[in-house]
C-alpha cells in the first residue's frame, strides 16, 4: 500500500451543523461511512451549537462570531490535538471567518475572548478548521484512495460542482477560480468527470426561499450546462447547493419544458460507494431527483457486488 497518508492517527473532530442533521443527513451518513472505509476515526464535536452562518452574519454579526467562537473553543478543549472538519460550506466559512476576524480586529478579538472567558472556555485560534474535501485530498491522498477502490463505477459522467463558500475567500480548500480537487478525487475513484465551467457559480443559496424565481433560474442554468457538457449527475460539497439542485428539478422541468432528472450527490456518497461502503449507510435513498439512475448505478445487486 502506498505510503501517502498523512492522516492524524488520533483522528478528527467534526462539526455537523444543522444541515447534516436535517436536509443534508445523507452527507453525514455517507461521510461517516467513507471514513470508516478509510479507517480514519472521526468524532462528532460534543455539545456543539449553531455555527452562526447565513442570516445571523447579516443581522447580528457579533452574535454570529460568538456562536462560532464557542464551537471553536469546544474543539480546542476536546482531548487530543485534532483538526475540526466542517463539511457544510457555510459552517466552514463562518468558522474560518471568525478566526481570521478575531486575529485581524482587536475589538472582535476582545469581545470574543471576554465572552469565552466568562463561560470558562479557553482560546480558539489554535484549532485548525478543515473541509473534508481538502482533508481527503491532502491527508489521505489520491494514491490511497485509488488503492482502496472496491467498486467499479458504471454510472454516467458527473459534473463536480464546488459552489461559492468553500473556495472563497479562503483558498485552503482549493483554488478559488478553478478548483479541481473534487474532480481529481472522483477520477481517482474511477468516476469520470466533465469540464464544468460553472463549478463555482451561484446555486441561488437562500434565494430559492426568498426571491424564488431568481434562485430557481440560477439552478436551471447550472443543470442545463451540466447536461450540455454530457454530465448525467452532479456531485457537490455543500448541503445548500445539493438541496437546491436536487429539489427544484421538477419545477424547472415544468417551467422550461426541458426535462431534468439528474441525481445530485454529495461527494462523500459517490466516493464512499466506490470505496465499498455499505449501501444502506450512504444515504442514497434520500435522493429526490434521478432516483432510478441512483438505483441502477449504485443499488442493484450486481452493482453492489461488482468488486474490482
Amino acid at each position: 500500500m502506498p505510503k501517502t497518508s498523512k492522516t492524524n492517527p488520533q483522528g478528527y473532530l467534526y462539526f455537523p451543523g444543522c444541515s447534516l442533521k436535517a436536509t443534508g443527513a445523507a452527507y453525514e451518513e455517507s461521510m461517516l461511512e467513507l471514513f470508516r472505509s478509510l479507517d480514519v476515526p472521526v468524532e462528532e464535536l460534543d455539545d456543539w451549537n449553531c455555527c452562526g452562518a447565513t442570516s445571523y452574519m447579516a443581522v447580528d454579526e457579533d452574535s454570529a462570531f460568538l456562536l462560532s467562537a464557542r464551537n471553536l473553543s469546544l474543539a480546542h478543549k476536546a482531548p487530543g490535538k485534532r483538526d475540526l472538519l466542517a463539511p457544510c460550506a457555510a459552517c466552514y466559512l463562518v468558522l474560518r471567518k471568525t478566526q481570521e476576524y478575531a486575529k485581524k480586529y482587536p475589538s472582535i478579538k476582545k469581545e470574543v475572548s471576554d465572552s469565552l472567558n466568562a463561560v470558562n472556555l479557553p482560546g480558539m485560534n489554535s484549532v485548525k478548521v478543515r473541509h473534508p474535501l481538502e482533508m481527503l485530498y491532502n491527508d489521505v491522498g489520491l494514491d490511497a484512495i485509488k488503492s482502496k477502490v472496491k467498486r467499479r463505477w458504471r454510472g454516467g459522467q458527473v459534473a463536480c460542482y464546488y459552489g461559492c463558500q468553500a473556495v472563497r475567500p479562503f483558498d485552503e480548500v482549493d483554488r478559488p477560480l478553478n478548483p479541481m480537487r473534487m474532480d481529481e478525487l472522483m477520477r481517482a475513484a474511477g468516476i469520470p468527470t466533465v469540464d464544468y465551467s460553472l463549478k463555482t457559480k451561484c446555486c441561488g443559496g437562500s434565494l430559492t426561499g426568498t426571491i424564488h424565481d431568481v434562485g430557481v433560474r440560477l439552478n436551471y442554468i447550472l443543470l442545463k450546462e451540466a447536461v450540455r457538457k454530457g454530465a448525467q449527475a452532479i456531485v457537490t460539497i455543500c448541503p445548500l447547493c445539493q438541496f437546491n439542485l436536487d429539489t427544484y428539478q421538477k419545477e424547472i422541468t415544468k417551467a422550461t419544458g426541458e426535462h431534468f432528472d439528474l441525481p445530485i450527490f454529495f461527494f462523500t456518497q459517490t466516493l464512499g460507494w466506490a470505496l465499498g461502503g455499505e449501501i444502506d449507510k450512504l444515504g442514497l435513498k434520500r435522493c429526490i431527483s434521478g432516483r432510478s439512475q441512483v438505483k441502477d448505478w449504485m443499488m442493484s445487486r450486481e452493482e453492489v457486488e461488482s468488486y474490482v
Binding site: 460553472l198 442554468i221 450546462e225
Partner: protein, 664 residues
C-alpha cells in the same frame, strides 16, 4: 594674520525667500540676534540671498570684514548649497567654510506660530555658527572618465542608445542575453498609430549595430559582476556558448535543413510557443547576428554525445559548428553604463477567470502579433487553433494592469496596441471585433485620431471590465463559442457576448530577474519593481549610482517613441559625462585614520556601496573615496571611532547639538 592666531570671524545671512520665509519668520530679528553671537562679525537679512546681489553681498563682506566662515539661513541645502559654496569660492574662501541653515522647509513652511518659528530660526542659526567655526578646508577631488560605454539589453532602447553613442565616436559594448538583438519590438507586426511595419523600421537599425565599427555586440551574454565607480567601472560579462563560430558562419542555414530532427520539437519562444523549432535554429529571418545557434537543452549531440552530426557535414569546410565551446567570463572597463533590460508581459494564466490556458482560443496579444505577422507561424493568417477563421473576436484590455489582484499600474501601451490589433484582425479576417475597456487612454501624438478612425471602421467599444470568459451556453447561438460576461457600464446592464476568439491585452511587468539586476548595478526600484530614476521630472534617465543610466521599459512601461527618446537622453547623459573628461567628487566622504584602525573589519560589510576594502599588508581597512557616498554608516559602526567623515566630524556635530540646545 593667520586664522589660528585670531578669533574666527563669521558672517550670517538670513534670507526672506520673498514671502516663503519672511511671512512667518521675523528675519530682521533673527539677524539682529545673530549679530550678537560669539564669533559673528556681520549679520544681515535680505530678500533673496540666492540672487546675484545676494551672492555679491557675501563676497564683498568676505573681503571687507575679512570673514573666515559664512552661515546662510535659507532653503534646503539640496537646492542652493552649491550656489553659496561657489559664492564663497569667488570671495576667496574655501567653499566648505559654509554652513547652511534650512529655515524654510524645516521652519517657515511647517509652522504657523510666527514667534515660535522665529525662535526656532534663532536656535538653528546659533547651532550653525558654533559648528561652522570648526569647519576645515576641503578639496574636491577629480577622477578621470573612461570613454567606453556598456549598454545592457539589445531591444530598441539599447539599440538606439548604442547607435547614438557609436555615431558620436564612442566605443560601445552592447550585451544581450538572447541569441539575437531586437527585443520585443522584433516580434511586433505593425506599430501604432502610424501602422509602420515594425520590422521595416527596426531591422535597419539592427544591421547598423552589427556593422558599426564602434559597437562590440555580445549576444548570449549576461553581466554578472560590476565593480568600480563612475567613470571607472570594471564589468564581468558571462558569455554562453553559441556552439557556432560567429566569424565562420555565413547564415546559409544549410545546417538547419540537415539536422537529424526532420521536424522542430522545441517550443519556439520567438513565436510565443505557437510554432516549433529545431535544436539548431535562427530565431527569425532578420536576426542579428545572422548566425545560427544551438540549444544545448534540445541538441542530441550536446545532450548525449551520440548524434550523426549531419549539421557538421552540411557546414562542410566552413567548420563553423563547435560542440566543444565553453562559457567564458570576460572583463571590460567602461566609464558609464546604460541599462535597457526591458520588460516581460503579464502571465495571463494568473487570471484563470479569463480562460487563458483553459480554452484554446484564448490568446495573448503577443501571440496575435505573431499570428498577424507574415513571418509568423501561420504566415500572417489569423486563425483559430483548428485552422478556421474567426467570425468574431473579443479583445480584453487591462489584463494584469489597473487591477488590485495583480498590478495597480497602467501599462500605458495596451489601449493603443489593442486598437492596432483590432484594426489588423478586422483587416485580415473581416471578423466583428469587440474591445472591452475600463477607460480609453490615448494621450500620444496621433493616438486619439487613431481611436476615432477605429470607431469609424466599426470596431465595437464596450466599457466594462470583463468578469469571465466561459464556455457555458444559454441558448443555441452561444453553442461552441467563448462567452464574455461583462457589465456594460455605459448601457447599464450585464451582457453576454459570444465570440470565436478572445485576445487578452496583457500588461507590462518588470523582468523576472529585475531585482538581481538592480543589486548588480546598485540601483533602486520603484514600488512596482521597475527601476527607479534619480528624479521623476528632472533626472528621468539617471539613477542614484553615478554613471549608470536607464532607458526603456526597465524604468516603467512606455511605447516605442518614448523608449527611443529616453534611450537618446541616456546616451546624451553618458556623452556629457565622457566629454567632461573628468568628474569632481564631493569631499564629504569618510576616511580612516590608519594608525588607529584595529582591522576588525566591522565596517566592510556595512558599506552599501562596497567602498571599503581591507589592506592585508597593513591589516587595516581602506575607504575608496571615489565610491564613498558619505552616508556615514561605517562612521557609526566603527567600534574604535577611527572612521571620520569630512563635514561630519564628531566635534562639529557635538558643537551643533550644543548650539541648538544653547548649552555652554
Amino acid at each position: 594674520m593667520s586664522e589660528a592666531k585670531r578669533t574666527i570671524r563669521v558672517g550670517v545671512y538670513i534670507c526672506h525667500c520673498g514671502h516663503n520665509i519672511g511671512a512667518v519668520v521675523d528675519c530682521k530679528a533673527v539677524a539682529d540676534y545673530a549679530a550678537n553671537l560669539p564669533n559673528v562679525t556681520i549679520a544681515r537679512d535680505y530678500k533673496y540671498m540666492c540672487s546675484d546681489p545676494g551672492q555679491e553681498m557675501v563676497q564683498q563682506d568676505i573681503k571687507e570684514f575679512q570673514l573666515d566662515r559664512v552661515v546662510v539661513a535659507s532653503c534646503s541645502p539640496l537646492l542652493h548649497e552649491h550656489t553659496f559654496r561657489e559664492a564663497l569660492a569667488h570671495g576667496g574662501l574655501n567653499p566648505f567654510y559654509l554652513q547652511m541653515v534650512n529655515i524654510r522647509e524645516h521652519d517657515s513652511w511647517v509652522h504657523t506660530d510666527k514667534d515660535a518659528a522665529t525662535e526656532k530660526a534663532k536656535d538653528l542659526v546659533r547651532a550653525a555658527v558654533r559648528r561652522v567655526v570648526l569647519h576645515k578646508p576641503l578639496e574636491r577631488r577629480q577622477v578621470g572618465i573612461n570613454p567606453n560605454v556598456l549598454v545592457v539589453g539589445g531591444g530598441i532602447a539599447g539599440i538606439h542608445a548604442a547607435l547614438t553613442l557609436a555615431n558620436a565616436g564612442k566605443k560601445v559594448i552592447l550585451v544581450e542575453r538572447e541569441p539575437t538583438i531586437g527585443g520585443h519590438m522584433a516580434k511586433f507586426d505593425k506599430t501604432f498609430p502610424t501602422m509602420d511595419c515594425a520590422a521595416c523600421i527596426l531591422t535597419p537599425k539592427m544591421s547598423q549595430v552589427r556593422n558599426h565599427p564602434n559597437i562590440t555586440l555580445w549576444t548570449l551574454s549576461e553581466v554578472t559582476k560590476v565593480e568600480g565607480y563612475m567613470g571607472n567601472y570594471k564589468v564581468t560579462v558571462k558569455r554562453w556558448p553559441r556552439y557556432i563560430l560567429e566569424d565562420a558562419c555565413i547564415g546559409c542555414q544549410e545546417c538547419i535543413d540537415a539536422c537529424v530532427f526532420k521536424e522542430g520539437k522545441t517550443e519556439d519562444a520567438f513565436n510565443e510557443g505557437l510554432a516549433k523549432r529545431k535544436p539548431i535554429y535562427i530565431p527569425f529571418p532578420q536576426a542579428v547576428p545572422q548566425t545560427v545557434v544551438i540549444d544545448p537543452a534540445a541538441c542530441i549531440q550536446l545532450k548525449t554525445g551520440r548524434c550523426k552530426k549531419t549539421c557538421v557535414e552540411a557546414c562542410g569546410e566552413r567548420k563553423a559548428i563547435r560542440f566543444d565551446m565553453q562559457e567564458t567570463d570576460q572583463v571590460v572597463d567602461v566609464g558609464s553604463i546604460i541599462i535597457a533590460t526591458g520588460y516581460k508581459t503579464f502571465d495571463a494564466a494568473r487570471m484563470p477567470d479569463l480562460g487563458y490556458g483553459i480554452y484554446p482560443n484564448v490568446y495573448t496579444a503577443l501571440e496575435i502579433e505573431r499570428l498577424v505577422n507574415a513571418s509568423g507561424p501561420t504566415a500572417g493568417e489569423v486563425v483559430l487553433r483548428d485552422g478556421s477563421k474567426p467570425q468574431s473576436v473579443g479583445i480584453i484590455h487591462c489584463v494584469g494592469s489597473r487591477d488590485a489582484r495583480t498590478n495597480p499600474h497602467c501599462s500605458r501601451v495596451c489601449c493603443m496596441y489593442s486598437l492596432k490589433l483590432a484594426h489588423l484582425i478586422k483587416e485580415h479576417t473581416g471578423a466583428e471585433v469587440f474591445n472591452f475597456y475600463i477607460d480609453m487612454r490615448t494621450p500620444g501624438k496621433g493616438f486619439e485620431e487613431f481611436y476615432q478612425k477605429l470607431l469609424h471602421e466599426g470596431v465595437h467599444m464596450i466599457r466594462g471590465k470583463v468578469a469571465e470568459v466561459t464556455d457555458w451556453a444559454l441558448d443555441p447561438t452561444e453553442e461552441g463559442k467563448l462567452i464574455l460576461r461583462v457589465e456594460d457600464t455605459l448601457a447599464g446592464f450585464v451582457r453576454r457576448i459570444p465570440v470565436d476568439m478572445v485576445v487578452l491585452s496583457t500588461g507590462l511587468e518588470p523582468q523576472e530577474d529585475a531585482n538581481e539586476v538592480r543589486r548588480l548595478f546598485n540601483i533602486s526600484c520603484s514600488p512596482g519593481g521597475f527601476f527607479l530614476e534619480r528624479h521623476p521630472k528632472l533626472a528621468p534617465v539617471s539613477t542614484f549610482s553615478d554613471g549608470v543610466f536607464l532607458a526603456g521599459c526597465c524604468q516603467g512601461p512606455k511605447d516605442i517613441p518614448d523608449t527611443v527618446a529616453q534611450a537618446g537622453a541616456a546616451a546624451a547623459e553618458a556623452l556629457a559625462l565622457i566629454d567632461a573628461n573628468v568628474q569632481e567628487l564631493e569631499p564629504n566622504t569618510a576616511f580612516i585614520v590608519q594608525e588607529e584602525c584595529s582591522g576588525c573589519k566591522t565596517c566592510i560589510p556595512m558599506c552599501p556601496y562596497s567602498a571599503i576594502s581591507f589592506k592585508e599588508d597593513l591589516k587595516v581597512a581602506y575607504i575608496n573615496e571615489a565610491l564613498c557616498k558619505g552616508c556615514g554608516t561605517c562612521v557609526a559602526a566603527c567600534p574604535s571611532g577611527t572612521i571620520k567623515q569630512n563635514l561630519f566630524e564628531d566635534e562639529e556635530i557635538y558643537e551643533e547639538i550644543k548650539g541648538v540646545l544653547n548649552y555652554a
